[in-house]
């Protein structure tokens, strides 16, 4: 396949999945919260996304006169850009990926680190107090969780003996890494929720506390980019977990590989949404404590144990 066509396909699929997730999430939350959710536009309300998109494109895009404009413009773009870039390394099926980098995981970690800038700059450039508090929280939170996000992945790398995602998936032919790396899986999942700043780790937004946190001052399509960026982030984390821990496209032969990949990813996305419907929000300092005092040592121990077993 021509690389450009692959890029376009991936882009199209990812963007439409992310947009579709808005509807999926609202319907699922409705289901779990004993209400309907959007059910008016089209069958089962599926065109709600379209209606929302039309609305958000035509919304007044108010730019705060007190903001630092170039940075203010850049920040949502950084978020969408970095998360989309990460998709280049996702191996959907053998042969269907944008690039097969030999440092795939490192590239993903690098991109998610860059994503922090979106929060920092967005909150800073808004030049307003609630966004500032939100981005302060977000920065600390994401830096913390990034540390052991990386550490928790190293077990997988050791078992597969590679940073290349295709090889990692291939290495799971015998057993998915969720088995031997269950601890790594749990930690990575938690870190992923924090990375995507979803409830219960949505402190940067903290709706009942900080109004809308770091994007309080954004409106129109710029807000829309933060919004969609969040869903791209969920999709990304789910896809990465699928590839690293759940055997990627591998599965019994009665379904094509791509179907397996999509099913696994979708289940993880649903769990993300279920989290949102279930948990209260811990306080920001409790979250940091939980990260540094419990998850980080746990990730290190997991790494050491895995290394010992691999060497033995």
């Amino acid at each position: 396949m021509h690389p450009v066509s692959v890029i376009l396909r991936v882009l199209l699929v990812v963007l439409s999945v992310a947009a579709g997730l808005i509807w999926v999430e609202r319907r699922l939350l409705g289901l779990w919260q004993l209400r309907y959710g959007p059910n008016r536009v089209g069958p089962f309300g599926i065109f709600q996304v379209l209606a929302d998109m039309i609305k958000i494109f035509f919304k007044e895009d108010w730019i705060p006169p007190f903001s630092d404009k170039p940075v203010y413009f850049m920040s949502p773009a950084i978020l969408v850009f970095t998360t989309l870039m990460s998709f280049t390394i996702i191996p959907f099926v053998p042969g269907l990926y944008v690039v097969d980098l030999n440092i795939g995981i490192l590239f993903f970690l690098a991109m998610s680190s860059l994503g922090v800038y979106s929060l920092v700059l967005g909150g800073w450039a808004s030049n307003s107090k609630y966004p500032l508090l939100g981005s302060l929280r977000g920065t600390a939170q994401m830096l913390t969780y990034e540390v052991f996000m990386g550490v928790s992945l190293m077990g997988v790398v050791m078992l597969a003996d590679s940073f290349r995602l295709t090889e990692i998936v291939e290495a799971q032919k015998g057993m998915w890494f969720i088995g031997p790396q269950i601890v790594g899986f749990v930690i990575f999942f938690i870190a992923g929720v924090a990375e995507a700043h979803r409830l219960p780790f949505d402190m940067p937004e903290g709706e009942s506390e900080l109004v809308a946190g770091y994007h309080s001052e954004y409106s129109g399509m710029k807000f829309g980019m933060f919004f969609v960026g969040e869903y791209i982030g969920i999709t990304l984390i789910s896809a990465i977990i699928t590839a690293l821990f759940l055997g990627g496209w591998l599965g019994p032969g009665f379904l094509p590989p791509i179907a397996w990949f999509l099913i696994k990813t979708f289940i993880l996305i649903v769990i993300f949404i279920l989290f949102r419907a279930t948990f209260p929000r811990p306080r920001y300092d409790q979250l940091m404590e939980y990260g540094w005092k419990i998850l980080f040592p746990l990730a290190l121990i997991n790494l050491l144990v895995t290394a010992a077993i691999v060497l033995a």
Binding site: Q33, S208, E209, L210, P280, R281, P282, R283
Partner: protein
């Protein structure tokens, strides 16, 4: 039931200071004291180990300048009224101070911290000044307001004033009034090593549950101080009491604590009944209790759900609102309306219960306990929820009393004090229920107490359902409103009475009366002064949320912003109840 022994004790203690003993319809010992002695008498009443009037329950004033019926009372243009409460003796006392327009009276703020806002309110509403008050400024009205609304010369209707306009320059001026200036509040902008952030939380903020503005002094996310700014929801409920008839004021009471509907009607109608000497038939009493308890559950369900949402749990609020909807179904069937049924009447209730009401009530009583058990697992036993609420916003019983806290907030500190038990009204003494208490006085316990109260309310409702007495739903008393129509076409006297009662409304005999009930948020009371007219001379709404909000700065210092939101949620105030 006049407590003669208390009067004797007071007489021995303060015989010399007392100018006059006043008789009131509510039999609360009411003594008049000269303004120079008032603070000292208050201090003595509080400190005396035998009397122990430890709570400043209410502080308000009356503009006496147009009052006709006040025989024997010391002459005054204004009267300041302190209402004190002794938990030790389960007794009240009312101290009245005669004042003239320009008089200054010394503050009692140093005796009870709760007096701070009450005195500001009196200043705002009547223009009376308190010497020694640290911060005597308007509290409910905007600082640009001219005049003091509860003075008799102040207009009660917008039509008596110039048409309202807000040109640009006035707009800017008003905005300037709202600008927060830390120095005005004696706050520093920075310490030696850091600059403080002043965060304006509200009046539009998802966490404040209404039009409440708090200015936070922050160092990072740590709260150094909080300044509440209330009054955005002020609608002049007390002033309206002076222009509506006794009967037509009932709908306004519904809207004071707008989450607990008829529970607001109860103290008001009982106070009027006390003035008029109406005895309410048993059936009406039980109906009133049943509906009140139903509204207590409704209010607590809102509390439960929104509190869970304040600490970030998105789902519970939907479940609890669904349950609340089921309760509203009963309210709708009985009263015809949902949130503000306006259903109690002077002398009874508006209508008899509809056919089949038992079935509806039974369904609900069977349904809710299961749901509450589910919520226990979902919310109260949740680890994150516990971490967020335990040990947050703590106050002791002593502090609660100093600050005038009543209701679940007081019981969460371990004090077993419920007006339904301690001073049974409307027949509560015949019901079997318990008073849940907490131990720590933190956000978690305040929630726990309310949940347990819902279970107790269900018990009461069940007992009402099983023991509903037959008989009339409204008193035969001629002042019961609207009056009975049975005899109107037979004799002229009844016809005239009915006609006057319906067209003018009842004329309530002169007197004063206070009735407080255990509301959903705390002790909710009405202090009514009748001058023998079709309207009240002075209506004072003693709202529980007002002192509760006053306490928020005290209990949130040293915590962080998320904790503040948890504290606000757990205090369970309604802004209409704060501002009235």
């Amino acid at each position: 039931m006049k407590d003669q022994s208390l009067i004797n004790k007071l007489n021995i203690r303060f015989g010399e200071e007392v100018l006059h003993w006043q008789d009131t319809a509510d039999d609360i010992p009411t003594l008049w004291v000269a303004k120079d002695q008032a603070a000292a008498v208050c201090q003595d009443l509080k400190n005396d180990s035998e009397l122990a009037f430890s709570m400043l329950y209410d502080l308000t004033a009356i503009d006496e300048r147009q009052r006709q019926n006040r025989q024997g009372q010391p002459d005054s243009e204004f009267t300041l009224v302190y209402h004190l409460l002794s938990f030790q003796n389960n007794a009240d006392v009312r101290i009245k101070v005669p004042l003239n327009d320009r008089d200054e009276i010394s503050t009692v703020q140093d005796i009870w911290p709760a007096a701070n806002w009450y005195e500001r309110e009196v200043f705002d509403m009547f223009g009376l000044r308190f010497s020694g008050h640290p911060d005597l400024r308007r509290i409910l009205m905007p600082s640009s307001w001219a005049g003091h609304p509860l003075r008799k010369e102040h207009a009660a209707r917008a039509t008596e004033l110039e048409p309202f306009s807000l040109p640009d320059d006035k707009w800017e001026e008003e905005e300037e009034h709202l600008r927060y200036n830390p120095e005005q509040w004696g706050m520093k902008r920075s310490s030696e090593d850091s600059e403080f952030m002043f965060l304006n939380l509200g009046p539009q903020h998802p966490g404040t549950h209404g039009l409440l503005r708090l200015v936070l002094q922050l160092e990072g996310e740590n709260i150094l101080d909080v300044v509440p700014d209330i009054g955005f929801h002020h609608r002049g409920a007390e002033k309206m009491g002076e222009r509506q008839t006794w009967h037509t004021y009932i709908p306004y009471t519904d809207r004071v604590d707008y989450l607990s509907g008829v529970l607001n009607n109860l103290p008001y109608v009982m106070a009027v009944e006390q003035l008029a000497g109406i005895k309410v038939p048993d059936r009406a009493k039980v109906i009133r209790i049943m509906m009140s308890e139903l509204f207590r559950i409704i209010s607590h369900l809102v509390y439960y759900g929104t509190f869970a949402q304040d600490v970030g749990a998105l789902s519970p609020v939907f479940y609890m609102f669904t349950d609340r909807e089921k309760a509203f179904k009963i309210v709708e069937a009985v009263c015809g309306a949902r949130m503000h049924p306006n259903w109690f009447r002077i002398g009874g209730v508006a209508q008899d219960l509809p056919k089949g009401w038992e079935r509806l009530v039974k369904e609900f009583v069977d349904y809710l306990p299961k749901r509450l058990r589910t919520y226990d697992k979902m919310v109260m036993k949740n680890k994150i929820f516990k971490n967020r609420t335990e040990g947050i916003g703590v106050y002791t019983t002593q502090e609660a009393i100093e600050w005038g806290v009543t209701g679940p907030g007081l019981r969460a500190t371990g004090m077993e004090w419920d007006f339904r038990k301690m001073r049974p009204y409307s027949g509560y003494e015949q019901f079997d229920f318990e008073i849940p208490t907490g131990t720590n006085g933190d956000c978690y316990d305040r929630t726990m107490v309310r949940i347990e109260e819902m279970r107790q309310s269900l018990r009461i409702i069940e007992q009402c359902m099983n023991n509903m007495p037959p008989g009339d739903y409204k008193s035969d008393h001629q002042l019961a409103t609207p009056p009975k129509k049975d005899g109107t076409m037979k004799d002229i006297e009844t016809l005239i009475n009915h006609f006057l009662g319906v067209s003018w409304g009842p004329v309530i005999p002169p007197g004063e009366s206070f009735v407080g009930v255990e509301g959903a948020k705390g002790n909710n009371g009405y202090y009514l002064v009748s001058d023998g007219n079709t309207t009240s001379y002075r209506t004072r709404v003693r709202a529980p949320s007002f002192p509760h909000i006053q306490m928020v700065p005290y209990i949130s210092k040293g915590y962080t912003i998320p904790d503040l939101l948890a504290i606000l949620g757990s205090v369970d105030y309604v802004l209409a109840d704060v501002d009235r």
